[in-house]
């Protein structure tokens, strides 16, 4: 059973042309699927559709073995598929790092102590304990990115959906992110423009073009991966 199975997804933002025109995607367990494509090709849109933040105009979303259509259907999907947003400032809305990382676990109904234990174990896993009591808006760009990853991992998802995770990261932080992601057991969908980042992580690559996903024809020998 694939983790995600999206069939023939069509989507248009109000007042604009169709972004997705029949995109299909299957994600199997253990895969790290990279998605490339132009700006505005609909890559982020697709990730949002996967967790039900946007509803497709046509097509079906099957996640964890069940077809999902309503808001209620997607609530459990969001627990098992952690979306890491493109802009960390959208995601870190709690005042302190510990509170932000604890937000997910508390919403899942964990007690304070359980949530705090989860915060500590995730921050230790990512080597971020030194940020625990910092104020989120005073973090650097690289720190914010790693904390958003911690916040999503704290919910113990089965799948990670990463939207341009290397955006605004310097080489050092990017190397650290790659190292962390390589060590994680989760299946991933990674939207990224960065060919080297993709080649380090991806087990398979799809290209988003003209609203559909297809296997890319490598144009240069650095591409793909």
């Amino acid at each position: 059973m694939p983790l995600f199975d999206l069939r023939d997804i069509h989507f248009a933002y109000p007042g604009r042309g169709e972004v997705l025109k029949g995109a299909s995607l299957v994600l199997e367990d253990g895969e790290r699927l990279a998605i490339t494509g132009h700006n505005g090709a609909g890559k982020s849109t697709l990730l949002r559709i996967m967790v039900g933040l946007l509803r497709p105009d046509a097509g079906t979303v099957t996640a964890f073995g069940q077809e999902r259509a309503s808001e209620a259907d997607f609530v459990p999907v969001r627990r098992s598929a952690g979306l890491v947003f493109q802009d960390p400032d959208d995601q870190l809305f709690c005042p302190t790092v510990a509170e932000d990382v604890a937000f997910g676990p508390l919403n899942l109904g964990q007690s304070r102590d359980e949530a705090m234990a989860q915060v500590d174990s995730v921050l230790t896993l990512l080597d971020l304990m030194y940020l625990r009591d910092r104020i989120t808006h005073k973090l650097s760009g690289g720190e914010k990115r790693l904390v958003t990853l911690a916040a999503v991992l704290a919910m113990s998802p089965q799948v990670l959906l990463l939207d341009e995770p290397t955006n605004a990261l310097d080489e050092e932080n990017e190397a650290r992110l790659v190292e962390i992601l390589e060590g994680l057991p989760q299946a991933m969908v990674i939207v990224s423009h960065d060919p080297h980042f993709r080649s380090r992580l991806a087990t398979r690559t799809l290209r988003m073009q003209d609203g559909v996903l297809s296997d890319p024809a490598p144009k240069c020998r650095h591409a793909g991966g």
Partner: protein
């Protein structure tokens, strides 16, 4: 472990003893002080209240110069009122400037208002102004303030700097293309665009934030992590504040009776 969260960043030990008092007690004390100060109408009692506020400033180890300057900045709001009152209140004439006659009653009312306002502001700065904004949000939540208001405060704290940065980036981008403000239609229109764009971006951002919150299981309730524990020092502070406020009330009552 949990009480590490209760005191986010604000190093409670760096300043005077007042900054080590439980934030909840300080918020309550500040409100109580304001209520008492506003209720007082005896000049003697108000001078005592001012002295108490100055003492609080000392206890919080606030630098006197800048703090008093900030307090004076607030006077800008009442300066007109204070200057007008002596001339508009009927009573025994004190002095006159040309055709304008100042009354004693008016002068005393003006002094009363000025003292009240300054004492309250100063006490507020010493008691609440020394709190990290986040801690104040937590304290208000612990004091059972309406959850929505606390959430609004927390979001404001969190996103003010993001919006400000966005504003600065847009301003820089305008300047980079040779924009210089002048009194022209072009300037006004450009500022209009700037403000409009800020609003649009803020709305879009708020939608993305809501999406991010839903992704992490948000269902309308905000789990807040805070544990304040009142110690002996806090209760002593509470008792001391209550006594001081009773004292102020007593002075006012005696003064009125005489």
């Amino acid at each position: 472990m949990a009480d590490v969260l209760a005191r986010p960043v604000a190093a409670r030990s760096r300043h005077g003893w007042l900054t080590r008092i439980d934030p909840r007690f300080r918020v309550v004390a500040a409100v109580a002080f304001a209520v008492v100060a506003v209720a007082l109408s005896s000049i003697t009692a108000l001078v005592a209240a001012m002295a108490l506020a100055l003492a609080l400033m000392g206890a919080a180890r606030l630098p006197a110069g800048p703090t008093l300057k900030r307090m004076a900045a607030v006077d800008g709001f009442i300066i007109l009122l204070v200057l007008m009152l002596p001339f508009t209140t009927p009573g025994v004439a004190a002095f006159s400037i040309g055709p304008l006659v100042a009354s004693w009653a008016g002068i005393w009312t003006a002094v009363e208002i000025a003292l009240t306002a300054n004492a309250v502001i100063l006490a507020l700065m010493a008691l609440v102004g020394t709190l990290e904004p986040v801690v104040m949000g937590h304290a208000l939540h612990a004091l059972r303030c309406p959850e929505r208001l606390v959430q609004l405060l927390m979001f404001t704290i969190r996103y003010l700097s993001v919006l400000h940065d966005e504003y600065l980036r847009m301003r820089a981008a305008m300047r980079a293309r040779g924009f210089r403000p002048a009194t022209t239609r072009h300037t006004l229109r450009s500022y209009g665009y700037l403000v409009g764009m800020m609003l649009v971006r803020a709305i879009e951002r708020s939608e993305r934030i809501l999406g991010a919150m839903k992704c992490r299981g948000f269902a309308g309730r905000f789990p807040m992590l805070e544990t304040f524990r009142a110690g002996r020092a806090d209760w002593i502070f509470a008792a001391g504040s209550a006594l001081a406020l009773l004292g102020l009330g007593g002075i006012g009552w005696v003064d009125a009776a005489l």
